[in-house]
């Protein structure tokens, strides 16, 4: 690494490519994510951001290229293995168990940290350690008061919080967030931002977001993607100053929301 | 065994495949576009065969029987769609399985009430009774070749409809993404009715075409139903192209299985399906779900 301020990369991708037929959704991407940093990925719709997240989480297998978690090659691992290694993710479209309580949602997530859940006879809810982890996650995502509410009955913002809470219950080292603020009211956005800020102290956050105000205020590193390729990576200031980014993507107003070319 | 033996067997397989395609294409359309598992599809095949028998008896002509019977079958299909299937689009596959199973029972009993439980046959139309000599001992009936020809025409017709017409555009959109169809503002209800009616019509048409070379008997729909499902699944659900290649594959595998592993030839097509699914869990031409 030439940049002396860069900490050791916790996650490192090299030559990562994902093709759907003739289309390369992610095209030969090289990126390092430093441990503990908050790294935002921005770009116009169709730039390949969500595909990149899906590759990192294991939801999609890459066509070529490698992903390393510290020194370990995790390129071809399935999502559950990646999750067990500490890569947690949330989804763009809320992905919770709507028929269950918030508690149960987080419980299921926390239980996944047991060495194995192939336990057939004991009542699941008797485990004190899992209960503690569940309550911690609920507290973190500010839903401890709503623990017994059926998740499907929560407001949209609360559901997004729960989504994050579930992932937190799996005790991740790296959190992949796919548009955590999408569709939220202003008030909900503020609350979620506060949550993310508190998380950023201990975790490596990698997020996709269209809200440029948020990105530039919050992220320590920003990567701009266009057409599946990395256009530029740098601090918010560097990105703002980049002529290439301005030309290709940001166009005329650097804070324009959901910029679409 | 010589080369001509294998060539004739290949012809047998392809010919069987064409007939399967006719039934399976309707099934795959309904499957892929509407997301409905229609166990009663075989019943439409049976209805077609019985209509052919009944109307040929009345009119004395298979052609007339088809012209009269096809609208009847399509109307039955539309009625079934309207009054039963349409309530299940948002429900789990299981309910479709259950409902259409109930429909099989109803259709079977209706057949028994309307036409009795005797076995019937339909005569091959006069013009097509001849046969072409292949070897010293075997000849090939013209009617079978005619059926193949009709199947090719139907396949081409479907291809053209799907590639070139507005309806085809809707079908393609529907097959790839149901939500998108709605977003595009297409009338999904109408599309579903058309697709189901067409599917039912295709199955009934297959039954009518097959009637002169098949026996017309109670329960005839069930045998072809399971085979058609195998075809659809091998080809990939919702893919007409898949149904075509699946039908060819099954036709050939079944034919050569009968010759090469005669003692266990019943297993062949199922083993083939299992192998294909293990290799490509979404079928040969299916989209990954």
């Amino acid at each position: 690494m030439t940049d002396p301020t860069m900490r050791d990369p916790i996650l490192s991708i090299k030559g990562l490519t994902k093709r759907f037929g003739a289309l390369a959704a992610v095209d030969d991407v090289f990126l390092d994510f430093a441990s503990g940093e908050t790294h935002a990925i921005i770009g116009p719709n169709g730039a390949g951001k969500t595909t990149l997240i899906n590759l990192l989480s294991g939801d999609l297998p890459p066509t070529t290229g490698t992903i390393h978690l510290l020194d370990r090659d995790v390129t071809a691992l399935a999502p559950d293995r990646k999750s067990q290694l500490g890569i947690g993710r949330t989804y763009q479209k809320t992905n919770i168990f709507p028929d269950e309580t918030c508690f149960q949602n987080c419980w299921l997530a926390a239980q996944s940290r047991l060495p194995s859940s192939m336990r057939f006879f004991r009542r699941a809810h008797r485990r004190a350690d899992i209960r503690a982890a569940t309550e911690r996650a609920l507290a973190l995502c500010n839903l401890d008061a709503r623990a017994d509410v059926i998740a499907g009955h929560l407001s949209y913002g609360e559901q997004r919080q729960l989504e994050i809470g579930m992932t937190l219950a799996t005790d991740p080292k790296i959190l992949l967030l796919d548009e955590p603020l999408a569709g939220m009211s202003a008030e909900e956005s503020v609350r979620t931002m506060a949550l993310l800020t508190s998380l950023a102290e201990n975790l490596t956050l990698i997020l996709i977001e269209h809200d440029m105000d948020m990105v530039f205020a919050f992220a320590q590193t920003i990567t701009v993607m266009v057409n599946g390729q990395v256009l530029e990576t740098g601090t918010p200031a560097q990105i703002r100053a980049s002529a290439a980014v301005r030309d290709a993507y940001l166009g005329h107003g650097p804070t324009e929301q959901g910029a679409t070319p | 065994m010589d080369i001509s033996f294998f060539l004739i067997q290949a012809l047998n397989g392809v010919q069987y495949g064409f007939l399967l395609f006719l039934v399976a294409s309707g099934l795959t359309l309904i499957f892929g576009i509407m997301g409905v598992i229609n166990l009663a599809h075989g019943s439409f095949y049976m209805i077609g065969a019985y209509l052919a028998y009944w109307l040929t008896g009345l009119t004395g002509s298979l052609l007339l029987a088809i012209l009269l019977g096809l609208p009847l079958a399509v109307l039955t299909g539309l009625a079934i769609e309207r009054f039963a299937i349409s309530h299940l689009y948002t429900r789990d596959h299981l309910y479709q399985v259950l409902l259409t199973y109930g429909l099989i029972l109803i259709f079977n009993e209706m057949q028994s009430i309307l036409w009795g439980n005797d076995l019937y046959g339909v005569a091959i139309p006069e013009m097509l009774t001849g046969s072409i000599r292949l070897t010293e001992t075997q000849s090939y009936p013209v009617y079978r070749l005619f059926v193949s020809l009709v199947c090719i025409l139907v396949a081409l017709g479907m291809l053209l409809t799907i590639q070139k017409t507005r309806l085809g555009m809707m079908i393609r959109a529907g097959a790839s993404n149901r939500e998108m169809t709605q977003i595009l503002g297409l009338n999904i209800k109408q599309l579903y009715a058309i697709v189901f009616g067409a599917g039912a019509g295709l199955a009934a048409f297959a039954g009518m075409m097959a009637a002169p070379i098949e026996a017309v008997y109670p329960g005839m729909g069930e045998g072809i139903l399971i085979t058609s499902f195998v075809v659809v699944v091998i080809g990939g659900i919702g893919s007409i192209k898949g149904a075509f290649f699946g039908a060819m594959l099954i036709g050939l595998a079944d034919t050569f299985g009968s010759v090469l592993v005669p003692d266990y030839s019943g297993i062949v097509i199922y083993a083939l399906m299992a192998l294909v699914l293990l290799w490509r869990p979404q079928g040969l031409f299916g989209q990954r779900v």
Binding site: Q111, H125 | Y101, V230, D263, Q282, V289
Partner: protein, 325 residues
């Protein structure tokens, strides 16, 4: 999912049922005792499938394969001139069915949705043709189990399966045992996971669960339980044929599950009971009983979306608007 907390009314009903089942042989007619035994056996069969359909979200269309295979194992190991001991023949049949489920499951769970339905059907059909075509198992005419298994331990022989009342109680107790086993299973960590699988499999994977493994284990347990039912069935009727593995049998048990209510512990019992009685009553009612049966099935699907169990619970299963296969 299911609310297992018993209310007082619920307990009262359960008590009444237990008493009724317990006393039934005292006043029931011979045939009705046989019929009830058959219903118990089918209830176990349906409960085993419900573990897959209702709780794990795996729609198996080939479940009769395990039911039939267990029967064939019993027929194969039972001597022609005496009774096989229950204590080893039953575990063998159940274990054999579970092993078969492990093999079929291992291959099938790679697929999902409709493809899973069809591949399980394919494996069951293969077994059907295997037993039908093979010269070693009686072919299409089937095979006999000449003597009912014996539960004797040494000279201690309290339960004689030749006595239909004894068989009745054994089957009834096994229904209870399987019910309790499933209730416990569903409250265990494993049960929580498979219920999560049914609701949203990709999410469970993202949470770090190796979902394939859980599905496979669930499939094996269900196969073993179906094996238990198949064993009892073969022991009761003394006869097994390829048709026992056919797709129509797989279809019937699926009917029972849906009829009773998927994802409800007692639903399949209710479903088996209703299905058998309905079949019996409608067949006596009219020559065209298939029409009535078909009509009832269609009506249930259209008007009782949660099955019969849904009549008793007020909770509605929310309609899904997304279509994940």
């Amino acid at each position: 999912m299911t609310n297992l907390r018993p209310t007082r009314l619920y307990l009262l009903i359960a008590l009444c049922i237990v008493i009724a089942v317990g006393l039934f042989p005292l006043f029931g007619e011979k045939f009705h005792i046989l019929l009830a035994t058959r219903i118990f056996i089918l209830a176990i069969f349906a409960m085993s499938l419900n573990l897959l359909i209702g709780f794990t979200g795996l729609i198996s269309f080939g479940h009769a394969a395990f039911f039939g295979a267990a029967g064939y194992i019993l027929a194969f190991v039972a001597p022609e001139d005496g009774a096989a001991a229950f204590w080893w023949s039953a575990p063998l049949s159940i274990g054999g069915a579970a092993l078969l489920a492990a093999g079929i499951g291992w291959m099938s769970i790679r697929t999902s949705g409709v493809y899973f339905i069809m591949i399980t059907l394919a494996f069951a059909q293969m077994l059907y043709f295997f037993f039908n075509d093979s010269p070693y198992f009686g072919g299409s005419d089937g095979a006999f189990i000449y003597f009912k298994p014996s539960l004797a331990i040494g000279s201690f022989d309290p339960v004689n399966l030749d006595n239909r009342v004894h068989f009745y109680y054994l089957a009834a107790i096994l229904v209870l045992v399987v019910w309790a086993f499933l209730a416990m299973l569903l409250r265990s960590p494993f049960g929580q996971v498979i219920k999560g699988l049914r609701a949203n499999e990709p999410r469970m994977r993202a949470l770090g669960y190796p979902t394939q493994r859980y599905k496979l284990v669930s499939f094996i347990i269900a196969g073993g339980l179906a094996g238990l039912a198949g064993y009892l069935n073969a022991a009761q009727s003394g006869y097994i044929s390829p048709a026992h593995l056919g797709w129509q049998e797989s279809g019937s048990v699926m009917m029972m599950v849906i009829l009773g209510g998927m994802g409800s512990l007692h639903g399949p019992i209710l479903g088996a009971f209703t299905f058998v009685l309905l079949h019996d009553i409608l067949r006596d009612l009219s020559q065209h009983w298939l029409l009535l049966m078909g009509g009832v099935i269609v009506a249930i699907v259209l008007f009782l979306p949660n099955g019969l169990a849904g009549l008793f619970t007020r909770k509605r299963i929310p309609q899904r608007d997304d279509d994940h296969d």
